[in-house]
């Protein structure tokens, strides 16, 4: 039965402040559900929630973050059938194709879950400086990341852009695919019932073209992934982002093949390198 879905902000499922909804259809135009149509105010509420969750999530041990993310993967797998039918309906795929995408999404989440406690040893360093100092560099999460999720790949693409944000210890405000939001909504339900603290991931259904500029210009958003924006809109977003020297991910014009094994580039983009110096002596 067709349902009316809501947003996912701060661990709760509010309606859009605007009261707006929009119909979601499959590629053939068949009505699937109504989704909440997020507004500027919803974006701001989600940023507040993400900021509030940042100290706890970034301050959690890497071991803990890894387990929480792995638990999300477990629960994703628990709702495999629902994801398969939603991905198939959203993307107009045969069930077998949707199955392999859902399985890849689960594997992707597990891959990033395993990175949390390895990032510092792979990307950090003890710096052999020329002097009596102990100098070391550790990667730290950038902060609140605004993510415009891929428009086409409704689950695997979404997981591929969200998981690296969370694995690095940043928190996220995600705008889902506008036409294919159902797997994102179900993922929200998975996140809400997992051990992920409320506010660490916030999922808005709505239009990237409308919500992207608010994320790009927001003073409390530290980084922006413009994947779900059109190539033309990305230029405007990048200009807006310059007002706060935001980190903006460089993304290819067309949506990449999400089934390929990722490298560290997405993880790295949401990390800052902090170098600490201390004198050596007796």
């Amino acid at each position: 039965m067709a349902k009316t879905y809501k947003l996912y902000i701060g661990g709760a499922f509010p309606r859009s402040e605007s009261g707006r909804v929009y119909p979601v259809t499959d590629p053939q135009g068949k009505f699937l559900a109504n989704a909440a149509h997020a507004s500027r105010k919803d974006v701001r509420d989600a940023v507040v929630a993400a900021r509030k969750a940042f100290p706890g999530w970034s301050g959690a041990t890497a071991y803990n973050r890894g387990q929480v993310l792995y638990r999300v993967a477990e629960m994703l797998e628990g709702r495999r059938e629902q994801f398969v039918s939603e991905v198939a309906a959203s993307e107009g795929l045969a069930p077998s194709q949707a199955e392999s995408l859902v399985d890849a999404a689960i594997d992707r989440w597990v891959w990033y879950a395993g990175w949390t406690d390895k990032i510092a040893s792979v990307l950090g360093a003890a710096n052999p400086v020329a002097g009596p100092y102990f100098s070391f560099t550790v990667p730290e999460p950038t902060g609140v990341v605004g993510v415009l999720a891929p428009q086409e790949s409704s689950l695997l693409g979404l997981v591929s852009v969200l998981a690296p944000v969370l694995a690095g210890g940043s928190t996220a405000v995600v705008v889902s695919s506008a036409e294919r939001p159902l797997p994102a909504i179900t993922l929200s339900e998975v996140l809400a019932t997992s051990d992920l603290p409320g506010g660490v991931a916030n999922v808005l259904t709505g239009r990237a073209a409308e919500l992207g500029p608010w994320l790009a210009s927001h003073g409390d958003v530290n980084a922006l992934d413009p994947t779900g924006a059109t190539p033309e809109d990305r230029i405007t977003l990048a200009r807006e982002a310059a007002g706060t020297v935001k980190r903006v991910l460089t993304v290819p014009d067309a949506e990449p093949d999400w089934t390929l094994t990722p490298d560290l580039s997405r993880l790295r983009r949401y990390l800052e390198a902090k170098t600490v110096w201390h004198p050596l002596g007796v």
Partner: protein, 477 residues
């Protein structure tokens, strides 16, 4: 002369081999730029040092073509082990010409010779040594096998560390196989053009390094040029934002090293005499013309009076004057414009009710000088606590608890550096963790090394320079 006074000990300006006229360096040759020549001034005397030919926008194009040709035909194809040899050679030549470079730098910039001699020039050489070793080991840098260079790098650097910033930019670019078009600052172009001579002496292939003196319009032309693949900028946050906006939507990779308003946090258990040395070094090094200068001192309330007393005494012993004198601690402000900016911000501190104390040191009659100044009773809302002054002006605030120190330290859109002074190791690590800054100095300040990544959070920019992390800026990864 009293018994403990210093006799003047000036370094000879002849060592600088100063020429009347300098020219842009394009495609391996010194050429007449078609821009309006500029006169570079000794800020300590206001005398004209030399005339410098500048580039025009069409020269920018010529330089980018030269860099592209060198990239395509020679530099990107050369084995890393061969590139390494050029970088090692350049490092050696900088060391061999270090006295000349140091004196020239102090003449053109106004910084004390002891700083250019003991810090700027040796560290510039160290950057070439460090990166030379990376040139043939990029497979091990952690970006996967066989990482590729980007192409032509456009680089714009500031006037506060003219040669050192050049080394920070050029060494990693060349090591990773990129070629370079660099614009030095308008007021300090001379050591960059001597560096061009060093490139010739090192027999660096023509076009690998191009140096274009000029003003902001030339920097903008480099940033906007369609055949430039990477932009590296060090300078003000204001200009950095403009550049980010300009580059938006292009394929150019961008790194920015922008302003700062660093908090230097002193706890009551800190070794206070050492802390005072660190505070002085943090804000008065290079006349405070340091983006990571410790310009906001946060002192725990219980020791604030004691620290202020020690600080005023120590600052009053700093000797201001001739940058070429080996006994000079504080040299000249780089330009009349910068001096006016410092004065304006200091006046705002007076107007907003902070307590100003200025060192009683004698101020030279000529040249651009500003006596070391410390403001107490500073509140977070004041301009002197929020804005980068980029001069020898310290703002002092107090705190009671470590949490309050963290909150005040992080209360800024900048995030370049921070200092912590305490004997308690666990507190150092806790604070270092909490501070939103790219570099944290504990019980020390203003330490730099090519092996240690440097760069900012938030509006202090993005990207790192130095270390393995810094290589990313010049690789397609």
């Amino acid at each position: 002369m009293g018994i403990f006074e210093y006799a003047p000990a000036p370094e000879s300006r002849d060592i600088a081999n100063l020429k009347d006229h300098y020219r842009p360096f394009i495609g391996g040759e010194f050429v007449d730029g078609s821009g309006e020549p500029l006169k570079t001034v000794n800020p300590a005397t206001e005398e004209i040092l030399a005339e410098v030919g500048t580039a025009s926008v069409s020269d920018v194009d010529t330089a980018v073509r030269a860099a592209r040709k060198a990239y395509d035909t020679v530099w990107s194809k050369m084995p890393g082990s061969e590139r390494a040899k050029y970088l090692f050679r350049i490092a050696r030549l900088i060391q061999e010409r270090s006295r000349e470079l140091a004196v020239l730098e102090s003449l053109d910039n106004g910084k004390p010779i002891k700083e250019s001699r003991d810090s700027d020039v040796p560290t510039a050489a160290a950057h070439f040594f460090y990166h030379a070793g990376w040139a043939d080991k990029l497979d091990y840098a952690g970006y996967g096998p066989n990482p590729k260079p980007l192409g032509v790098a456009g680089q714009v650097i500031p006037w506060n560390f003219p040669l050192l910033m050049l080394a920070w930019k050029i060494a990693p670019a060349l090591a990773t196989g990129n070629t370079v078009v660099l614009k030095p600052a308008e007021t300090t172009p001379l050591t960059a053009l001597v560096f061009a001579e060093i490139c010739q002496q090192a027999e660096l292939p023509p076009g690998v390094v191009n140096i274009l003196p000029g003003a902001g319009d030339i920097g903008a032309a480099v940033v906007e040029h369609g055949d430039v693949d990477k932009i590296a900028f060090t300078g003000s946050t204001e200009v950095g934002k403009l550049i980010q906006r300009t580059v938006a939507g292009t394929r150019k990779k961008l790194t920015l090293e922008l302003g700062g308003k660093a908090a230097n946090v002193v706890f009551d258990d800190a070794p206070l005499d050492q802390a005072v040395e660190g505070i002085v070094n943090g804000i008065f090094f290079n006349q405070g013309h340091v983006c990571c200068a410790g310009s906001r001192l946060l002192v725990q309330e219980s020791v604030a009076e004691e620290v202020m007393e020690k600080l005023r005494y120590r600052v009053s012993t700093l000797r201001m004057g001739d940058p070429l004198d080996k006994n000079t601690d504080i040299g000249a402000i780089n330009s009349a414009e910068q001096l006016a900016k410092i004065r304006g911000l200091v006046e705002s501190g007076d107007a907003e009710g902070a307590q100003r104390w200025t060192s009683p040191c004698p101020v030279p009659d000529r040249g651009f000088f500003f006596a070391p100044t410390v403001f107490s009773d500073v509140h977070q809302s004041m301009r002197i606590a929020r804005e980068e002054i980029f001069g020898p002006v310290l703002s002092v605030l107090t705190f009671r608890t470590p949490d309050e120190a963290v909150a005040k330290a992080n209360n800024t859109p900048y995030g370049l550096s921070a200092g912590i002074w305490t004997e308690k190791g666990s507190r150092i690590l806790w604070m270092a963790n909490k501070l939103r800054a790219g570099v944290v100095w504990a019980n020390t300040f203003n330490r730099f090394d090519p092996a240690a990544p440097f760069g900012g959070y938030q509006e202090s920019g993005f990207g790192r320079e130095g270390g393995r992390t810094g290589l990313e800026a010049y690789l397609s990864v």
